[in-house]
């Protein structure tokens, strides 16, 4: 049972590793969205952070073995006054 739980945790962890692209609604003004930089650039789990106003996405790359949950990403973006449309994770 313990091995099964460990395996599930490992699979879950791998599934959440890699890059994340968050599609954001309302991100039309860079000055108004600077809260994203303030928050994500101070996150220890984040290796690189990029915002594309053209594509209306926030792209995050995590450090090896680290991650941020979808719930946390939604919280940060909502607290910046924006809405999350969808979160796409890639790589493992």
């Amino acid at each position: 049972m313990k091995r099964l739980m460990a395996l599930l945790l490992l699979v879950s962890s791998l599934a959440h590793a890699g890059d994340v692209t968050v599609h954001v609604q309302g991100m039309v003004c860079s000055f108004c969205a600077q809260g994203l930089s303030k928050k994500f650039q101070s996150e220890k789990a984040v290796e690189t952070f990029k915002v594309s106003l053209d594509e209306k996405v926030v792209q995050l790359k995590f450090k090896q073995g680290q991650n941020l949950t979808d719930e946390y990403l939604k919280e940060v973006i909502t607290e910046s006054g924006l809405n999350v449309e969808k979160i796409v994770r890639s790589g493992s």
Partner: protein
Amino acid sequence: VKRFFVLISLAFFARAEAHPVAFKGAIGLMAYQQADMLEWQALYSVTNRYSLGVDYIWDTMEGPARRLLLARVNWLAHRWNGSDHQANIYVSAGGGAAFLTGATQGAGLGGLEADYETRRVYFSGKTQGIFTRGSGYWFHQLRAGFAPYLGDYEGLNTWLIVQLQSFPQASADKLRVGPVLRQFYKNVLWELGVSSQGAWSFNFMVHL
């Protein structure tokens, strides 16, 4: 085109006005100046829905100099976030003291503001009243602007705006129309405007 506006910004300094509520935890500092008015404002966004702050206003619009020191709260009443636009309605209220020639009185503030913007166009309307015993001082503003190029998140953004301001209680220039150059770079925003009467205005804002 972008390089041209970078040069413009370096040549002129800056002026600004932005949303009265920013991201959670943001500290917004603003300084606005025109010939007959000066305003300093410090706001703290407790959440992304409301901010608390202090407003200091000096003006000579009705003749004698008047100073106001007000505590204020700004509330984001509603926001529409779309894939290519954002629209907002803000309500502001406050209270404090008015320092008039030879007298100090209580003062109150009420305001309503709405805006709509995409990356290319921008519209806003604002009305604000400041009340002391026996008198009220109103300010109304309409703005329409467009971005001559689409700025990046990390780059210099430029807006060309036409502004209509009404100061019903002013002793002169009750209606002021003119262009405003608005620019922002990362967390710093500035605006430089000129009215049809030839009066310059300058505004600066930073989000910490």
